[in-house]
């Protein structure tokens, strides 16, 4: 029983991660931490 609960939790976390990646891609958020619309390439 414990296995099932933990398993579901793991799947949820993994799913959340995948979804978050997908959503970021759609919004054009890059890996730099900001979003590209404000970037202008001059992160500092």
């Amino acid at each position: 029983m414990g296995t099932v609960i933990v398993g579901i939790i793991v799947l949820a976390i993994a799913g959340g991660a995948a979804y978050s990646l997908h959503r970021d891609k759609k919004n054009g958020k890059s890996q730099c931490g900001g979003d590209c619309s404000r970037c202008g390439g001059h992160c500092h």
């Binding site: 296995t3 970037c39 001059h42 500092h44």
Partner: protein, 834 residues
């Protein structure tokens, strides 16, 4: 009725800040069709029918750079209803140069003078009303950063747009020039709107070669041009430019009052005197970077990482160090007994290996019941061979002297009875995360395989990466500080000479700088380079600089193989720079890239003390994205990896594997196929190969993969540290080669995506990736082969090939070349067909 307002101004005048303030999040960012110039438009906050178009920052409406052409094509072709011209008040003359050109377009202009607050601080004044009178357009003051005046500016712009009044141009040039302009205007046909005629006329006079694309019938103005050139003894472009500036100078006098602040005495200048000094600048830069990396990676870094890896993600740690000294004392007391036990067991193994093995299996088993352990001890010590065994063991005394102590069965038994101190009993002990999770999973009755996935897969992998967060944060603080105080702009200035030697301008340095945080914005920053070839070259080489994600790899190699020596991290940074410079030299000498270096005309902002808030925010932004990446991409990668590691073909069938069967797993199988490719580099085992491949997804994965692969092995072997395992698998010189390979080869998917977007051309993209990877391979190869000579491990064939590579490399670097002379700007003409 929807209204279009265009934002135009010099680069760095605060346009983007203003744009963000005016549109909030109602922005859409894309590219102008056919070119890699960013196109930003958004809706004005509070006015649903007003669109604001942020044009690229430009100095003039000449036909020479992509940004300028894009901007003017938009202004002429799309005819926005009004232009909001942002002018940097601290730089007003040059900014007005663009303004005069904008006003010739026949579109209503409202000028917003930015940075008024800085002006006031300096004691300078601009008389906006006089300016407005002379220029013939409304002028308002704003501070885009502070947010003052922007609403008024926007409202005025909307008003202007709605009124759609005809524009009267207030500025004028010398009489003879004006006469010629009128003459040319008369010649222009009706395909050009009346209010635009002046703009077109002037461009024709300037012999602008792109203006013809925007006209249906092009009149012949050579006579007029000749007349002017004869009169002024100069080419028409210069004539017109001169006229503009003359006009500006004439009105500036009335409109601006400068304070009497001294010329060369500001703090910025004083700092610059030292920092950009002819001889000291480069060594200072090298020293600064060394210091930065030394502090973040070697000192704070290794302390923080040890705590993270052995503590938080290991067995545990003492909160604020409470209890550490008490524990250490107890451990010291116990040490001699420990030595006796170990020494005795060693001797026992030689004398009676089987019996000893039976004993140690039970003794070392953490899960064994106490009764079983006692029974095992009894059985062991009553064995005849063991009973009569004595040996001598070296024990370090209190004063660090080593004394030889006699150990027999009795001593052994006494030693066994001593309790090994458990750090958890001293002070405030915080168990490591794996311990906590492990206990939790046990308590809940989770199946072994799932526990394995979580602990040995996810926690091991993600934990390995997160362990580097403290180091990253320290590094990010430093970088943020250096960048926002203005030092890095100076470095571009300093590096320009070196860069120019191989045909790139100092401007190419900026993307490198940004790339030291993350390669993606670094690649995108190459947009500021006008010359197409230079830009491509910059895009290709920007990712050589170690980005934030590569830092854990550097730190890992430094820690596991080089005892955290400071030079490792710092050398990685300079290997990157060297790779960029050498690539530049070599490529510039090939026909593909040869060309005149772009003019290096760059503004140097004054130094200013960055606010703590800004630095921390920048650090946090980058740090957070790092952590987020760990929780997403890396998390998923570790899960996939774990499955690949735990399933394979063993004993003839496919199924889940035991810890020792790692080499039979699917992952090992895939890895073994790839591994031989890397054998000449000194790391041809499948684990390293797999790690390098996972680095393509995200560079941190290399560390995560190692965490899983070598941590996993911890279970199978004798509890040796993960990094110790790694350290034992290949020789240090190969490890350094591995590091260099990962630094230089193709970057992560995100960066590759950026490269592809900026290149806008699949062929070039693959060329870039291929170049990077091949270079990485060759350099790592040479490092290993030649380096091995010094460690006494010579491979003849490899060495010869490596030396040939080096020779070839040197040849490519020094061979002569001929530069071509023209600067060509190519742009798809059909993009703006009317």
């Amino acid at each position: 009725m929807s209204i279009k307002i265009a934002l135009a101004g010099n680069p760095n005048c605060g346009k983007t800040t203003l744009f963000n303030a005016l549109t909030g999040s109602n922005q859409f960012v894309g590219n102008w069709p056919g070119v890699t110039v960013e196109k930003k438009e958004g809706k004005l906050k509070g006015h649903s029918d007003v669109t604001i178009m942020d044009l690229p920052g430009i100095y003039s409406l000449s036909p020479y750079t992509l940004e300028e052409v894009v901007a003017r094509n938009y202004l002429v072709g799309e005819r926005p209803d009004a232009i909001l011209n942002i002018v940097d008040g601290t730089n007003i003359e040059r900014n007005l140069y663009l303004s005069t050109q904008l006003m010739e377009l026949g579109i209503p202009v409202i000028m917003a003078v930015n940075m008024m607050d800085i002006l006031e601080k300096n004691g300078d004044k601009i008389h906006l009303d006089k300016l407005s009178e002379k220029l013939g357009c409304p002028v308002v003051a704003i501070s885009a950063l502070k947010g003052t005046g922007i609403k008024e500016a926007a409202d005025k712009a909307v008003d202007l747009a709605k009124k759609a009044a005809t524009v009267t141009i207030a500025h004028s040039f010398a009489d003879s020039v004006e006469a010629v302009i009128s003459a040319v205007e008369a010649k222009i046909g009706s395909d050009v709107a009346d209010e635009q005629k002046r703009f077109f006329a002037i461009k024709l006079i300037e012999k602008d070669d792109k203006i013809k694309d925007m006209m249906k019938s092009v009149p012949d103005v050579s006579a007029e041009v000749q007349k002017l050139e004869d009169e002024f003894d100069d080419d028409t472009e210069s004539i017109i430019t001169n006229e503009r500036y003359q006009y500006i100078s004439s009105i500036i006098h009335d409109c601006c009052t400068k304070s009497k602040k001294s010329e060369g005495g500001s703090v910025s200048d004083k700092i610059d005197k030292v920092v950009t000094n002819r001889w000291a600048a480069l060594p200072i830069f090298a020293a600064v970077m060394f210091l930065v990396y030394y502090i973040s990676v070697t000192t704070v870094g290794s302390w923080a990482t040890d705590w993270a890896n052995d503590g938080v993600f290991g067995d545990g740690w003492h909160l604020f160090g409470i209890g550490t000294s008490a524990y250490n004392d107890a451990a010291d007391e116990y040490a001699p007994y420990d030595a006796e036990i170990k020494g005795f067991l060693e001797a026992a193994e030689e004398k009676a290996p089987d019996v000893t093995k039976e004993f140690t299996e039970v003794y070392d088993d953490e899960d064994a019941q106490e009764a079983d352990v006692d029974a095992a001890i009894k059985a062991f010590t009553s064995n005849s061979a063991i009973k009569s065994l004595t040996t001598e063991v070296n024990i370090a005394g209190e004063d660090e002297d080593e004394e030889l102590v006699n150990v027999n069965v009795a001593t052994f038994e006494t030693a066994l009875e001593q309790e090994e101190p458990d750090p958890a009993d001293y002070g405030v002990w915080v168990p490591g995360i794996p311990v906590l999770i492990g206990n939790g999973l046990d308590a809940i009755g989770c199946a072994d395989w799932l526990s394995g996935l979580i602990l040995d897969g996810i926690v091991a992998g993600v934990g390995a990466v997160l362990g580097f967060v403290p180091q990253m944060l320290v590094l990010f603080i430093f970088l943020a500080f250096l960048e926002s105080c203005g030092y890095m702009a100076r470095v571009a200035f300093i590096m320009d000479r070196i860069f120019r030697k191989f045909g790139l301008s100092g401007k190419s340095f900026i993307p490198m700088l940004i790339g030291s945080g993350c390669g993606v914005p670094g690649v995108m920053a190459s947009r500021t380079i006008e010359n197409d070839r230079d830009r491509k070259m910059t895009i290709m080489t920007t990712t050589f600089i170690p980005c934030g994600a590569k830092l854990p790899i550097i730190a890992l190699i430094a820690g596991a193989f080089f005892d955290n020596a400071g030079w490792v991290a710092w050398s990685a940074y300079f290997v990157g720079i060297a790779a960029i410079i050498c690539s530049g030299i070599i490529l510039k000498k090939t026909k593909m890239f040869a060309g005149e270096p772009a003019p290096f005309v760059m503004e140097l902002p004054a130094y200013h003390m960055p606010t703590v808030e800004n630095v921390l925010r920048s650090m946090w932004e980058r740090g957070w994205s790092f952590i987020k990446k760990a929780g997403t991409i890396i998390l998923l990668s570790t899960i996939v990896l774990w499955f690949l590691m735990n399933f394979g073909w063993a004993d003839g069938s496919f199924g889940m594997l035991e810890a020792e069967q790692l080499d039979s797993s699917i992952l090992a199988a895939i890895g073994s196929v790839i591994a031989p490719i890397f054998a000449p580099l000194g790391w041809g085992n499948w684990k390293m190969a797999v790690a390098a491949i996972t680095g393509l997804i995200a560079k941190e994965n290399v560390v995560a993969t190692f965490g899983i692969l070598f941590g996993f092995a911890e279970v199978a072997e004798d509890g040796a540290e993960i990094w110790g395992q790694l350290g034992a698998s290949i020789v240090p010189i190969a490890a350094y080669g591995f590091l260099v390979f990962n630094l230089l080869c193709a970057p992560c998917f995100a960066a590759m995506g950026a490269i592809k977007r900026e290149m806008n051309n699949t062929k070039w993209f693959w060329f870039a990736i291929g170049y990077q990877t091949v270079l990485a391979y060759i350099v790592a190869f040479c490092i290993y082969q030649i380096g091995s000579v010094f460690t006494g491990n010579i491979h003849v064939v490899g060495l010869i090939i490596a030396l040939l590579f080096v020779a070839g490399f040197i040849y490519l670097l020094v061979r002569p070349y001929k530069e071509s002379d023209t600067l060509k700007v190519d742009m798809k003409k059909k993009a703006f067909a009317k």
